[in-house]
Symmetry: C2
Subunit: 419 residues, 2 copies
């Protein structure tokens, strides 16, 4: 497979826009048939995909990528079958477009209808995992949107093979294959070009680490749906139940440390800590959680090291945790406001008033009282499909399902009405 | 009144953010009381405002501003009373925050509630009219948001006096006066600083001409609610009723030529034009509409001048109109796609299928079949209050009421749930 770096990003974005006009008038059935056909074709041609994936894996080994990274990159017949099943599952979801949000008639007889419609063209910028190539395509097509895919360079052979297989599949459906565009370049300039395609791309969705997302937010003129960075806190209040606090902390920290809804900092009330330090220290030790604490914590938790600004501000995405001791709820909320990323924040307490204050004053997509932050997830909440977890306030906040890929039109039907 | 250019934009934005935390926990009643009190104080202190306005008017006369501009700038006792009434009207609207959008309980007992909450801090960047200072403040406070106001330099004395009066008023209410910040500077650098206050300002709303809006969209890292530029088209189809077509065209063009939902271009089917040119020519003449046409039009409409790219692409905001003759609906839609600003577009036709195609394929906030584009307006549609007309697709599209100033939080109540 030859990877040209002379891609024409604008031409591809324009093709996507043109295709989106054909796609947006297809029926729900035509879109679902196409998704199911794509699923079949992916399963049938899995060997093509695995051969391309082998090239990426060889490159990865050469570059000495970590085992965890190689695992995310690596495909198998079973993983391809999972992609296919994902498309079939999406085909079964409710079509988010064509829904009448509200309608009314003015006194002069003008009929007003506010209807959901596709956004048009989605630009997806993502890192390692090749599954995003299929997942994002499925969600885009289901919601009547074309998609421009720009994956990470480490998976470029796999991604390109997947798109080529999907293109062959689309030729046998009502969806024009130009509705799925793949930017076959490892050149950063191509990504920067995408940022400016305001005429042709309706929204950019970055999926990946904080640096990628920051680059998109700062440089894109295309509107952005910001996803993912979660520097989540568990605040254990003075009135926290010991068992709940420890269960929630351990679960939020260790269940899947590398995901965005995992806990990164424990904020703990000094009184609770002094009463329950033995139980906490035992739980941390048992679960191999490494503590980076403030001065107060260093004296209490054996083996802890001093936390610096980086510890408070960034995600570990490992079983490390930052621990801050506070005198009261106000200090806890102030710490979360300074360092939180507005993703998911939890309070553990038996005091209803403290929970209420926490809910009112902490500015985040998801707030928890006596539960693990791990529930901020489209799957766990029963959304059927998740495009990402929005950490912004406009358009969509928190876990985003298919409706986040739609906008509205006001349709006015008259008989000659004027003002 | 001394106008310092050494304003500290960041300090003001931070003050607004801090105040927003106090504001967002006030009750609906407390907010409404404050709005009504502000209305009383504005009426009581109208002379202070008029004295400051006189300075702006004197500056304006010196600079030779147009009559229309001076009219928008000019205040009177009656206009101040209208501002006050606007605040009272807003106080009567439904509180858009604290509404449960949806709630459900997971199998494990975790209760999930999606609730509307204020955005936090709104940054309003606007041009001449001082009424925006009051209107925007009223809408922000009603929805629980703090506001940072940056008005045009031509109205800076009026705006500052209005804010000072409101500050005095707020001191007698539960809303901290820091919730209303006024950037008292005519320096462009101050506006540019606002663009980057992502930490403290949650959304920027530009109100004014295309250049202002473009500058905000291109330079802001704060999310933007894009409003207002309307290069609106009336497409008169082959099967258009003559009377409806002419009434709608004349109304959309001449009722209020300077507003964003006024028509700027007539796209007309050649067959209809040839059958109905006498009626059209008479109507254009009677209403003093100056025609800038393509080659085809020049031969048909007496007195028309040749349109260039600027005519197709920009708003006249006057009784001038661009006129393009087309062979069919497809050509009409293509023209609108090239030059439209996704605001309001109309088709006049008795053919239901053409109307349906127009509705499906034209990408705009509001589409009209046999009615004037002038109805794209929060007032005309019965929204009660309008923050602006969004021409973007994310968050809010078309006329925006109070809900556009809110976001959501997912509130999760558990009893120790973990994954």
């Amino acid at each position: 497979m030859t990877l040209t770096t002379n891609v024409n990003v604008e031409a591809q974005a324009m093709e996507a826009k043109k295709a989106s006009k054909k796609l947006m008038i297809l029926s729900e059935e035509e879109k679902n048939q196409a998704l199911n056909h794509l699923a079949d074709v992916l399963e049938r041609e899995y060997e093509t995909i695995l051969a391309a994936n082998e090239k990426d894996l060889a490159n990865g080994r050469e570059k000495g990528f970590t085992d965890a990274f190689m695992d995310r990159l690596s495909l198998s017949k079973e993983r391809v079958a999972e992609f296919a099943q994902g498309l079939r599952d999406v085909s079964k979801l409710e079509d988010p477009t064509g829904q009448v949000v509200t309608d009314w008639t003015l006194e002069n007889g003008l009929q007003v209808e506010k209807v959901t419609v596709p956004l048009g063209v989605i630009g997806m910028i993502y890192e390692a995992r090749p599954n995003v190539t299929v997942d994002a395509t499925g969600l885009a097509l289901k919601s009547g949107n074309a998609i421009v895919l720009k994956g990470g360079s480490s998976a470029i052979n796999s991604n390109q093979a997947i798109v080529e297989v999907m293109h062959r599949g689309l030729e046998e459906t009502k969806i024009p294959k130009e509705a799925v565009q793949f930017i076959a370049s490892t050149d950063r300039a191509a990504t920067n070009e995408l940022f400016k395609m305001k005429e042709h791309i309706d929204v950019l969705i970055p999926r990946g680490g904080g640096k990628l997302i920051q680059a998109v937010v700062e440089n894109a003129t295309v509107p952005v749906l910001e996803t993912g960075v979660g520097n989540c806190h568990i605040y254990v209040d003075k009135h926290a139940d010991v068992e709940k606090a420890i269960n929630i902390l351990v679960n939020a920290k260790t269940d899947r440390p590398a995901v965005c809804n995992a806990a990164e900092t424990l904020v703990v009330h000094k009184e609770w800590l002094n009463d329950n330090k033995d139980a906490l220290i035992a739980a941390l030790k048992e679960n191999n959680i490494a503590v980076h604490g403030d001065e107060y914590i260093l004296d209490i938790i054996p083996g802890s090291v001093l936390a610096d600004e980086d510890d408070w501000a960034n995600e570990y995405l490992s079983t490390d945790i930052a621990v801050k001791a506070v005198d009261d709820l106000t200090e806890a909320i102030a710490h979360i406001e300074t360092y939180g990323t507005k993703h998911s924040e939890a309070i553990v307490t038996e005091d209803a008033e403290s929970a209420e204050t926490f809910f009112a004053l902490v500015d985040a997509a998801a707030l928890y009282h006596n539960a693990s932050t791990r529930f901020t997830d489209g799957g766990a909440l029963g959304f059927g499909a998740e495009i990402g977890i929005s950490t912004q306030k406009l358009h969509a906040r928190g876990p985003m399902g298919l409706p986040a890929l739609t906008t509205v039109k006001f349709l006015m039907k008259g008989t000659g009405q004027i003002r």
